[in-house]
């Protein structure tokens, strides 16, 4: 199959390798390589032939004879002379690739592995004296980053587009059309009679492209991100392909005229050809210029499920539901290679950026990598139990895929799992990698599109694949606004109420403080009065004491002078007065100490009232502050709701305007 030249005379890496491999001087292989009969068969007998024997033929593979081994198993040839990395047997035996062999057991010992490897490298020699099998080119999986052409200049983004949806489903429905722009933060999502343009970063709807032809089943951005191909139609009725100019958001052309929906389509990188296929089992190559059918591929035996042009437009890969996978020359549709290996229907094909390797996904659950020049299988691995639904290359030579196990997985270019990004609600259908290669959008059967970060595997969010109509959005915004307004008003009322209550509390405290101060003054006056009374009483007592002493002195000196009967009477009177005044002093002192006590209490009450007032004042201030904040928030919410409403009203106006212009 490999020819020395293809299409317009491209010289490619693989051809150089052929030259190198066949040009090796024979003498270089000094050591005698192991042979099947002597070294390898005993290993197989010990480790593999329990299942891979003529009776069981697990996986269709029988390792007990050289011929059977060469015939391979259900997934095609298992050994490639001189190329262990390209030999399926080596991949699974060395545990480089799933399913590892022997299953549920340790890897076979290293010395055995080394013998197998040496045998493959040595050209699969059958027995002593037999000639080695001609060695094919050694597969180089490594990607040369320089070979990737990335679009230049400013990212291609659409202008402002109408957000008016054509249809809004009862619920989301399975999305099979999904592609990310290779130059711009743009994701296209297929739907019923429309294509949604979404930002994979913000997950916001950027525009709706009407697709009146029917359901959009397949979407492809052109390699330069300038064109968008949308394909689909109405099942069992009609199929069309429509091309859009991304930067202007306008329809450029409608191509194809099928009697069933177009299931798969692609645009060549030079934008000259569109390949399309579907239930008719035929791939048509039509020119973008005039829609004329340039060539037809009729070799497929079942529905065409995937088509993809190579990055240089020279080759076209096509796959069908029966598992047939072919490479064709785009010009003239001549067969380039038959890629044999899948045992289930092909679901997706994707070209690596350098155009040297094709990845294919199939219902057999595997991903296969193919050498596009040689048409040989480089590697294959079990990716998703039950079936792989989609596979896409990243620019760095890694891949993402999804499948019937509901998971989204990120693989190295060698088929090793880098990361299982997580599970979706139902079977995975399509994946797309954003331009910055940082996130993957994946759609599942329920119509949910989930965005995962490729850097940390976090779920970034969900893209609305069934957006509501602008009317619904406006109605919803109006409802939100009404709610916000209501909340705002309610908050205002509440603020007023709480503020009044706080003020009331403050004034109540002020009154209490004044009363306390009055009481204190009164108490102090009473104390002063008591003090005066004590002083007066003391004065009286002193007087009485003086009187008593006067009477005592009079008795000693004037006893003869005064009649005896008057002198004793005056002394008794003075002593009684003294006693009376002494009691009055005691009473007055008691009054004073009571008044002093009362004054102390009143002073304390005044202090307490002051503290109460300070508290009430502080509380009032904080309430005012807090309520004002809440109110401000409510206002902000209302404003935001107003803005949302305005935005959608604006979008509606724009949509109406756009419609009027059309």
């Amino acid at each position: 199959m490999p020819s020395s030249e293809r299409g317009g005379g491209f010289v490619r890496g693989g051809l150089l390798l052929v030259a190198l491999a066949t040009g090796l001087p024979a003498g270089l292989a000094a050591e005698k390589p192991p042979t099947y009969e002597q070294q390898v068969l005993p290993i197989f007998r010990e480790k593999c032939c329990g299942c891979h024997n003529p009776g069981k033929r697990a996986g269709g593979l029988d390792l007990t004879s050289y011929q059977q081994l060469q015939a391979g198993g259900n997934s095609g040839e298992v050994v490639a002379a001189g190329d262990p990395d390209g030999s399926y047997l080596w991949q699974v035996a060395s545990h480089e690739s799933e399913p590892v062999m022997p299953p549920n057991a340790d890897r076979i010992p290293d010395d055995m592995l080394a013998a197998i490897k040496a045998w493959i490298v040595g050209g699969l020699v059958e027995r002593d004296g037999a000639k080695p099998v001609a060695t094919g080119p050694v597969t180089k999986l490594a990607l040369d980053p320089g070979a990737i052409v990335t679009p230049e200049g400013e990212p291609v983004m659409p202008p402002r587009l109408s957000l008016k949806v054509v249809t809004h489903g009862l619920r989301p429905t399975t999305v099979t059309g999904l592609d990310a722009s290779p130059h711009g933060d743009l994701l296209a999502v297929g739907g019923r009679q429309q294509v949604l343009l979404v930002s994979p970063t913000t997950r916001q709807l950027l525009g709706v492209l009407p697709f009146p032809e029917g359901n959009c089943k397949t979407l492809r951005f052109s390699r330069n991100a300038r064109l968008l191909l949308t394909a689909g139609g109405i099942a069992a009725k009609r199929g069309r392909v429509v091309l859009w100019d991304v930067a202007s958001g306008t329809r450029l052309a409608a191509l194809g005229d099928e009697y069933d929906e177009v299931l798969a389509a692609d645009l060549s990188a030079d934008q000259r050809l569109v390949a399309l296929g579907g239930a008719a089992k035929v791939v048509r190559l039509v020119t973008t210029e005039d829609g004329q059918e340039e060539s037809t591929i009729t070799k497929h035996t079942d529905w065409i499920t995937s088509v993809a042009f190579s990055p240089d437009s020279v080759l076209l890969a096509t796959g069908d539901r029966a598992g047939n996978l072919f490479l064709w020359e785009s010009f003239g549709a001549r067969e380039w290679a038959v890629l044999k290996g899948h045992t289930g229907g092909i679901t997706a094909v994707s070209w690596r950026g350098d155009g040297l390797v094709v990845a294919s996904a199939a219902e057999d659950g595997t991903i296969h990598l193919w050498d596009a020049d040689q048409g040989t299988k480089i590697r294959s691995w079990a990716a998703h139990a039950g079936g792989t639904s989609d596979v896409r290359w990243l620019r760095d030579g890694s891949l993402v895929s999804t499948g019937r196990d509901c998971r989204v997985k990120h693989w190295g270019g060698d088929g090793k799992l880098k990361r299982d990004l997580g599970a979706m609600a139902d079977i995975g259908v399509r994946v797309a990698v954003n331009d910055s290669q940082t996130s993957v959008s994946a759609s599942d059967w329920t119509g949910t599109i989930t965005v995962w970060s490729l850097t940390d595997a976090s779920q970034q969010g969900v893209i609305e694949a069934n957006p509501p109509s602008l009317e619904t959005r406006i109605a919803e915004a109006e409802r939100q606004l009404a709610t916000a307004r209501q909340a705002c008003d309610a908050q205002r009322a509440k603020e007023r109420e709480r503020r009044a209550a706080a003020e009331k509390q403050v004034s109540r405290s002020q009154v209490a403080q004044a009363a306390a101060e009055t009481a204190l003054a009164k108490a102090e006056a009473q104390r002063e009065q008591a003090r005066q009374q004590v002083a007066a009483a003391k004065q009286q007592l002193a007087k009485a004491k003086q009187a008593v002493s006067n009477v005592r002195a009079g008795e000693g000196n004037d006893a003869a002078e005064e009649p005896a009967e008057t002198q004793p009477a005056a002394g008794e009177q003075a002593v009684a007065a003294e006693q009376h005044h002494a009691e009055a002093v005691t009473q007055a002192k008691a009054q004073l100490s009571k008044a002093t006590e009362a004054t102390k209490r009143a002073a304390q009450a005044v202090q307490e009232a002051a503290a109460e007032l300070a508290k009430a004042t502080a509380a009032r201030d904080s309430i005012i502050k807090a309520e004002m904040q809440v109110s401000a928030d409510a206002e902000a919410g209302r404003t935001a709701a107003e803005q949302v409403l305005t935005r959608w009203q604006d979008e509606r106006a724009f949509a109406e305007q756009a419609a009027a212009q059309r």
Partner: protein, 793 residues
């Protein structure tokens, strides 16, 4: 339609009363026979299981002449307690949503989508596959919803789902429009998608379907465009039932006589019979319908027959308005009964004696004589040997084994051993194939599943082969039935005996039959019957007891049908070993009565034969009359049958006075007596002798073919035998006159005197011929090649 009017969950068993006001009907005919003499309401009992349950009812009237009328529209139906229930006109059904949504979607069967010729084919159709008749609902669910994500159903716009669009014919569909866009089925499909197209995880927990009833049980429609509505009721294991009139798939065996619409409306067409069938899930049921022309003048002979057999046959003929043919003459009878009973032609002397006998019971006496003859045994041993597939088979059954097996059979038939005992001995047979010859049966078919199928077909008349891979499409048998029946034979083992030609057949007491879908062991289960309590040892014992037991509805019917088919040329069920729901007996009461009497007689084979051969039905002329000319199924006249290979060879030998030689048998043995099915010759093979490798009755070819005609014309058989027997030569030597020789030849070959015209023309042809012998031998040869010789009439 009866509808529950009460929010309770109690069950209500109703008795419906139908009344009819005849005055209001547009009466079609003019006679008094229009008067309805009986009125029936179907279903006979209505059970409503919930407040939402409904039941359609039909009212069928019967006229004095047996013609039935669908009076559902005219009759007034009332219920005893109108507070509980009410009856609504038929068109109210449309808006009524029903219970048990889990049993949807039966649309796939109803729409015919999963038939073998459509998406039920092994590879599907146009890229879409469903399991045949929906035996794999889980797989169907996956394929419909997820095989091609985004194509077959549209969750966002359910009505736009391709599944719906195709079925209603809105987009091109190879299978065409299956149901209308506004039909109940389409609505249900759309609703199902709208609700999220969810699977029903509880499907397995639902009560199993146990039966299907189709009403009315029979109809006799008069004229074209008469109608009769059918009502189908499914019964479930939990005792509930459901009106499935609008969910079953209807079909008619004879749509030109009685066509049935998708809604179960029967419309009459041309005169004839049809069996109308309804399939729901795994069960098919059917009812017979007869269509007769308007105003037929039936001239039915009084007492056309003389036995109960004739009564039952005549009853059917009367309902079909067919007059049977007259009784055949004595010559025809004698030739027929000789060929059928002993496989020989009556000799000239036997004919003469019979014709001269004037006693009224002479036919009965001849029958008795024939049944007592060894040749009767030989003939029936051959018939049974075909069923038991007696033959040698390479390394597995030696010729000796085959001969022993044949001897075993011969002794039993000769002794008139009750058939049930004979079959029982065979089914349970264990031991060496020489020591206990019926064990050869298990040696001749060593594949358990094939053996299962053979036993079912040979002894029960059931072709259950279909159910090996999928539920039988036109019968009641499911895969569970099939593997349950096969389980009876799963423990049979074989080992070498001392004599290397002998094998010992025994039950190992271990080993189980695995269900190919579930992978589980299947316990033994009788076909359509119970799961017996079997210990490991006696599986075949249990089976044999059931097979010949009183509860088995199949065995006796199968045997009597086989015998009937031999004598009447066509079974009451045809083919005689193809009993199935969709292939009902043409005369059920006759089959039932024959079987009942056969069992009551102690499985007496000869008495069964006598009952049949004695009847006028057997003895009718093959000459049809105006009314029965087109009838080939109801035994209104004798069938003209090609004589089967062995008997034809024997009669050829008989009339040419020659002998046959077969390997292992003495010279002069008859072809009928050959023990080994492998022994044959060119003549026998050409005339369709069974190789006995296949149990099917269709393996015996009775069809005439060009090679047969050429072989008789040009082959060595006729010419060579005529010369070898040298009858003509002997007669010429005896000095017989030309006309005497012609008489003898015709008598010998046809059992009758030549017609006057035959005699004149044959005489003319020999007149003046130089070689008289050659000329008569040419005539002999011509007689042997004429249909009158090759056919039993």
């Amino acid at each position: 339609m009866v509808r529950h009017d009460h929010r309770s969950r109690r069950l209500w068993h109703l008795v419906l009363v139908a009344g009819l006001c005849l005055a209001g009907r547009g009466v079609r005919a003019d006679t008094a026979s229009e008067a309805v003499v009986a009125l029936r309401v179907f279903p006979p009992a209505v059970q409503l299981d919930s407040a939402r349950d409904i039941q359609r009812i039909v009212v069928q009237g019967e006229r004095a002449d047996g013609v039935t009328l669908d009076l559902s529209a005219e009759a007034t139906v009332s219920v005893g307690d109108a507070a509980l229930l009410h009856v609504e006109p038929a068109d109210a059904a449309a808006s009524w949503s029903r219970t048990q949504p889990a049993q949807e979607p039966h649309w796939s069967a109803r729409g015919g989508c999963n038939m073998g010729s459509c998406h039920g084919a092994a590879r599907g159709k146009d890229g879409f596959r469903l399991s045949l008749f929906g035996i794999d609902p889980a797989g169907d669910y996956q394929r419909i919803t997820r095989e091609m994500p985004g194509r077959r159903i549209d969750l966002g716009d359910p009505a736009a789902s391709l599944l719906v669009q195709k079925a209603i014919g809105a987009v091109p569909h190879t299978g065409g429009k299956r149901f209308a866009a506004e039909s109940d089925l389409a609505c249900r499909l759309i609703d199902w998608v709208a609700a999220g197209a969810e699977d029903d995880p509880d499907l397995a927990k639902l009560p199993a379907l146990t039966g299907l009833d189709l009403y009315p049980p029979q109809s006799l429609l008069e004229g074209e465009a008469a109608t009769q509505q059918l009502v189908a009721v499914a019964r479930f294991a939990d005792g509930t039932d459901r009106d499935v009139t609008d969910l079953v798939w209807y079909s008619s065996t004879n749509a030109s006589s009685a066509a049935v619409s998708a809604d179960g409306q029967v419309t009459s067409g041309r005169r004839g019979e049809a069996f109308l069938m309804a399939r729901y899930d795994t069960i098919t049921e059917g009812v017979p319908t007869v269509v007769i022309p308007v105003g037929i003048d039936l001239q039915f002979p009084q007492a056309s027959g003389n036995t109960w057999v004739d009564d039952l046959v005549d009853a059917k003929l009367r309902s079909l308005r067919i007059t049977p043919s007259v009784i055949c003459d004595d010559e025809t009878f004698l030739r027929r009964v000789f060929l059928d009973c002993v496989g020989l032609l009556p000799t000239t002397e036997q004919r003469q004696a019979f014709l001269e006998d004037t006693s009224p019971d002479k036919r009965t006496r001849v029958i008795d004589e024939l049944l007592a003859r060894k040749e009767f045994v030989d003939l029936w041993v051959m018939k049974w040997a075909e069923i038991l597939q007696i033959r040698s088979d390479g390394n597995f059954v030696s010729p000796k084994g085959a001969v022993l097996y044949h001897q075993w059979l011969d002794r039993r038939i000769a002794a008139n051993q009750p058939i049930d005992q004979m079959v029982r001995d065979l089914v349970v047979a264990s031991g060496g194939t020489f020591e206990n010859p019926p064990t050869n049966y298990f040696q001749l078919e060593r594949d358990t599943l094939k053996l299962t199928e053979n036993i079912a077909q040979a002894f029960l008349g059931m072709r259950i082969q279909c159910a090996q891979c999928h539920n039988h499409p036109f019968d009641r048998w499911t895969m569970d039935d099939y593997y349950g029946f096969a389980s009876f034979f799963s423990q049979i083992r074989r080992k070498r005996a001392e004599d290397p030609r002998e094998t010992i057949v025994y039950d190992s007491g271990g080993g189980a039959m695995k269900h190919p879908v579930s992978g589980q062991d299947v316990p033994p289960k009788f076909l359509g019957g119970d799961v017996p309590q079997v210990s490991v040892q006696d599986r075949r014992e249990a089976l044999a007891n059931w097979m010949v037991g009183p509860d088995n509805p199949f065995f006796a019917r199968r045997i009597v049908n086989l015998v009937w088919a031999h004598f009447l040329g066509r079974g009451i069920v045809d083919e005689p070993d193809d009993f199935r729901v969709s292939n009902p007996p043409v005369n059920g009461p006759l089959l039932d009565e024959l079987a009942a009497r056969f069992v009551a007689s102690g499985w007496d084979f000869r008495s069964l034969v006598k009952e049949i051969v004695q009847s006028h039905t057997y003895q009718r002329s093959s000459e049809p009359n105006a009314s029965n000319r087109l009838d080939t199924t109801n035994f209104s006249h004798a069938a003209i049958r090609r004589i089967r290979a062995e008997v034809l060879l024997d009669t050829l030998a008989q009339v040419t006075d020659t002998t046959n030689k077969f390997p292992g048998l003495p010279d002069g043995a008859r072809a009928v007596q050959v023990a080994d099915g492998r022994t044959t010759n060119y003549f026998l093979t050409t005339f369709g002798r069974a190789t006995r490798e296949d149990v099917c009755s269709c393996a015996i070819s009775m069809d005439p073919s060009l090679s047969q005609a050429l072989h008789l014309l040009n082959g060595e058989v006729a010419n060579e035998r005529i010369r070898r027997g040298n009858l003509v030569g002997r007669w010429i030597k005896e000095g017989l006159a030309d006309s005497q020789i012609i008489d003898r030849l015709i008598l010998r070959c046809y059992g009758r005197k030549p017609l006057e015209r035959e005699r004149i023309e044959l005489l003319a042809s020999v007149q003046g011929q130089p070689n008289r012998q050659l000329q008569f031998e040419d005539i002999f040869w011509a007689l042997l090649n004429a249909p009158e010789f090759i056919f039993n009439h």
